[in-house]
């Protein structure tokens, strides 16, 4: 116990003296939450469209006007296709509408009238918005104007009600989700360095000839970084709820409890990488590619999991942030849902315990050491667990 305490004390001093760990725990959240708050926006935005009107009738002029007055669209008038092309190329407009010269004539004769909508396929999301805005605005115009009588009354009236996030404000789930990213960084990136560092600097060799046992080494790393991670989580929570005013409807106790389980799992991944590789550079590269990138892309935070190809859907099952992101989103927006809490906590606990067992098993109490130069290749420490 005294040994474990000494190791923890040592680790805490090292953390406090290393500015990079403090930066990752407390400065990075500020940056990352600000980016998610102000930089990323998945909601509909105001789009600038071009309009080329070849029909000179006064009715159609009101259609052009309604494009200008919409709260979703800005419009710019064009006279020829060439100008539209240039404007799209320079991203001045995101799409264009061409009203053909027989538009009002066709409508008056009760024929089907054509409307050309040009979109920029290089930005798929925006292209979809342009299409649906164009359709919605022209339908509304039809209901209000002279051709009102031509439209059949819809038989079904749809009433929309959005639960949990009535404004459809994506910040309400993306900003809390960034907690998962920060905690992954602390859990994986920071800790992937710490065991490797002891091997590189030769301190591990000295530790191994003292009373230290494998469990001391493992807990001596888990505990201090767990504390650092939880402090950072609390700071993240403070930023989300108090500074950025993101509504939180769940229970704080459950939030910190399950965040703790997630942190335990992340630490497991980081320490596993560190124990296996014994090389700080390699460890940081690996931890970014197996830890950070999947957390960002496969956790369901930015890209919904059910729209991924089947293979990737299965792949997400072994990615801890997936469970945590799903928990955070429900805890923030829906309030506590016990099924979701339980399911995610269960998977995280299983993954975390497996990783802990793996780290413990991999922590060796001997060095199977440096091959003599030349014949043996680089001075690598090949692992072999002691049989003690």
């Amino acid at each position: 116990m005294k040994i474990l305490l000494a190791l923890i004390k040592k680790e805490i001093k090292q953390i406090l003296r290393d500015p990079s760990s403090i930066v990752i725990a407390f400065v990075l959240p500020i940056i990352s939450i600000s980016i998610y708050m102000y930089g990323i926006n998945l909601d509909s935005v105001k789009i600038t469209m071009g309009i080329k009107n070849d029909d000179n009738s006064p009715e159609v002029a009101t259609l052009v006007k309604s494009f200008g007055h919409s709260k979703y669209v800005n419009s710019i008038n064009f006279d020829n296709m060439e100008d539209i092309k240039t404007a799209v190329l320079s991203s001045k407009i995101k799409g264009a509408i061409v009203i053909p010269n027989d538009f009002s004539t066709n409508l008056s004769r009760n024929h089907r009238a054509n409307l050309l909508v040009i979109t920029d396929g290089s930005e798929v999301n925006t292209a979809n918005y342009v299409q649906s805005y164009a359709l919605a605005i022209s339908n509304q115009w039809l209901l209000r104007g002279k051709y009102r009588g031509l439209v059949q009354k819809p038989l079904i009236n749809i009433e929309n009600r959005t639960w949990y996030n009535p404004d459809l404000n994506s910040h309400h789930f993306i900003v809390p989700g960034s907690i998962a990213i920060t905690m992954t960084l602390i859990g994986i990136l920071l800790t992937s360095l710490v065991i490797a560092r002891e091997w590189e600097r030769g301190t591990m060799e000295a530790l191994l000839s003292t009373k230290v046992r494998a469990i001391h080494i493992v807990l001596g790393k888990y505990i201090p970084y767990f504390v650092l991670g939880m402090l950072s989580t609390a700071f993240n929570m403070f930023l989300c709820v108090c500074v950025f005013q993101i509504p939180f409807r769940g229970s704080y106790l459950m939030f910190f409890l399950i965040s703790g389980v997630f942190l335990f799992t992340s630490l497991g991944i980081g320490l596993m990488i560190s124990t296996a590789l014994k090389n700080q550079f390699m460890a940081s590269m690996v931890s970014i590619s197996v830890g950070f990138m999947p957390a960002l892309m496969l956790s369901g935070l930015l890209f919904p999991i059910n729209s991924m190809p089947t293979f990737f859907q299965y792949l997400t099952m072994i990615i801890p942030p997936r469970y945590y992101v799903s928990f955070i989103e429900s805890e923030f927006m829906a309030g506590g849902v016990n099924e979701i809490r339980l399911a995610n906590a269960f998977y995280l606990t299983v993954l975390g315990l497996l990783l802990f067992a793996g780290v413990y098993k991999k922590t060796q109490m001997r060095l199977e050491a440096s091959c003599p130069p030349l014949e043996g290749g680089p001075k690598s420490l090949i692992s072999r667990r002691g049989d003690d």
Partner: protein, 493 residues
């Protein structure tokens, strides 16, 4: 009573045999020196003795324990200082001591230890900010905590000055009790000569075991005897010097330092450093760790800017025309500064081009250098895989590839075994005979004897200059090491 009993021990790494059917006993209460060339198996032997490595075959018994199955019990009785000392550089001196005391389960009673190591005034300094000599003392202090019955030290004196080495030896001798067994691996044969027993190993086998005084009565003779045991050193004509394309310069004073000074705030790393080196001279820069030798070197080759004063190489001012001055210079840095992941040939290719050898002549030049430096066998090995001695040889090859008339060598033989050092100095002396000017730093006092003139450096200032004989006379000493220590002590008064 035996502390170590080893019978027919074999340790292999892949197909390489590091310890070859070795049998060895080490007597309790004795200090035993472990000597051998680089890659002879010294570190592997130490690590196997304490159970950090598992042998492939043979029997091993340490203090009555089997390190293969009883490592944890054995750990309670030993103190092991690895080559890198095992210190936490981001913890202070006292924090390192406290940590290791807790890990060994001993009380926090460091007064005697701190006083003895003279580390008391530096208790709150980070271990990473200590000089090399002080780090070693701290490493040793951590190892000595809990009065281990068996002390294993892996080359504790690499790269430290004679004063620190003497302190270290004194520390060990006074802190242990008559029952303590010490196994001390070293490259310094004068050190090994003063121990109770010497064990010389070569290619994983013991080639001598016994009282060093039985082998030779003086350290110098002992060194020669050990070299003979290792197969002997045949002094041959230096091919490096023979093939050196030396163009005699028209200046007589090839290197001049003119009131060089480097100041950091109120601290003078180097102060009023003035000397002149003649063509073909070997000029030795000696001094304790942290005296300002490396800083002087860096200023003289234009890598650091002097705060005042200047230096001239072949009469060219290093401050106003650094590039032109540097073209006359070959510099071998203290740390291995070649590309570890490139092969020997690729490194030389690179340095040939970097030193401005034309693309057409490069191939021929590199082939020649590989030949004369005896690197043919290794030309396709990665530089980082070479043993230390060969790494140093490659560094020297890279520094000499453009045949500069002036050569700066910063601790070229630190951590290198005695055979390689002999070979190295054979080349240095032959080059100087051809007319190459050489400035060199070293902590080996026997090497200082090879210098034509020596400047003794302390606290950033020159405290004595002269030929080795003159310095010994001045200090009233018979050997260079005593002269070094006396002169430093004198300047402190």
């Amino acid at each position: 009573m035996q502390t170590v009993i080893i019978k027919n021990l074999t340790k292999k790494f892949g197909s390489t045999v590091a310890i070859d059917n070795m049998s060895l006993n080490i007597e309790k209460g004795k200090i035993t020196g472990l000597i051998g060339a680089d890659g002879a198996g010294k570190t592997t032997l130490l690590r196997t003795i304490i159970g950090l490595l598992l042998p492939n075959d043979g029997e091993i018994n340490i203090l009555g324990f089997n390190p293969i199955t009883q490592k944890d019990e054995l750990n309670l009785h030993i103190g092991y200082m690895p080559q890198k000392f095992g210190l936490y550089e981001d913890l202070t001196v006292i924090e390192n001591l406290r940590l290791y005391a807790d890990l060994k389960g001993v009380a926090h009673d460091f007064d005697k230890m701190l006083e003895f190591t003279t580390l008391a005034p530096f208790q709150d300094r980070l271990a990473g900010a200590l000089s090399g000599g002080m780090k070693q003392k701290l490493g040793l202090a951590c190892t000595l905590l809990g009065n281990p019955e068996f002390l294993l030290l892996d080359e504790p004196s690499v790269g430290v000055d004679p004063i620190s080495r003497r302190d270290l030896m004194k520390m060990v001798r006074e802190m242990i009790n008559p029952e303590t067994t010490v196994l001390w691996s070293t490259a310094y044969l004068d050190e090994a000569h003063s121990f109770d027993t010497a064990v010389v190993i070569d290619k994983g086998k013991v080639i001598y075991e016994g009282n060093p005084h039985d082998l030779a009565s003086t350290p110098q003779e002992f060194e020669n005897k050990v070299i003979d045991l290792m197969g002997g050193y045949n002094k041959e004509e230096s091919l490096i010097a023979k093939n050196y394309d030396y163009k005699a310069p028209d200046v007589e004073l090839t290197v001049e330092a003119d009131n060089l000074e480097k100041r950091y705030g109120n601290f003078y790393a180097v102060k009023n450093n003035t000397f002149k080196i003649k063509k073909g001279e070997i000029f030795g820069l000696l001094g304790p760790n942290g005296a300002g030798k490396s800083t002087s070197f860096k200023m003289m080759c234009g890598l650091a800017r002097p705060t005042s004063g200047t230096a001239r190489i072949m009469g060219i001012d290093i401050k106003s025309q650094p590039e032109k001055a540097r073209a006359n210079l070959g510099y071998m840095a203290q740390k291995f500064s070649l590309y570890g992941s490139l092969t020997v040939r690729e490194n030389l290719d690179f340095f040939a081009l970097a030193y401005g050898i034309s693309l057409l002549k490069k191939e021929e030049k590199v082939n020649e250098v590989i030949e004369v430096f005896g690197l043919k066998e290794y030309e396709n090995s990665k530089a980082e895989d070479l043993p230390l001695g060969l790494k140093q040889r490659l560094s020297m090859a890279a520094a000499l590839i453009h045949n500069p008339p002036v050569l700066f060598l910063d601790e070229p033989t630190s951590g290198v075994d005695v055979l390689t050092r002999r070979d190295f100095w054979n080349h240095i002396i032959s080059l100087s005979k051809k007319g190459v000017t050489i400035m060199v730093t070293t902590h080996f006092m026997d090497e200082a004897e090879y210098c034509d003139r020596i400047s003794l450096f302390y606290h950033g200032e020159t405290i004595a200059v002269g030929t080795p004989t003159e310095l010994k006379q001045q200090a009233g000493a018979n050997d260079m090491e005593t002269a070094f220590i006396n002169l430093i002590k004198e300047s402190e008064r």
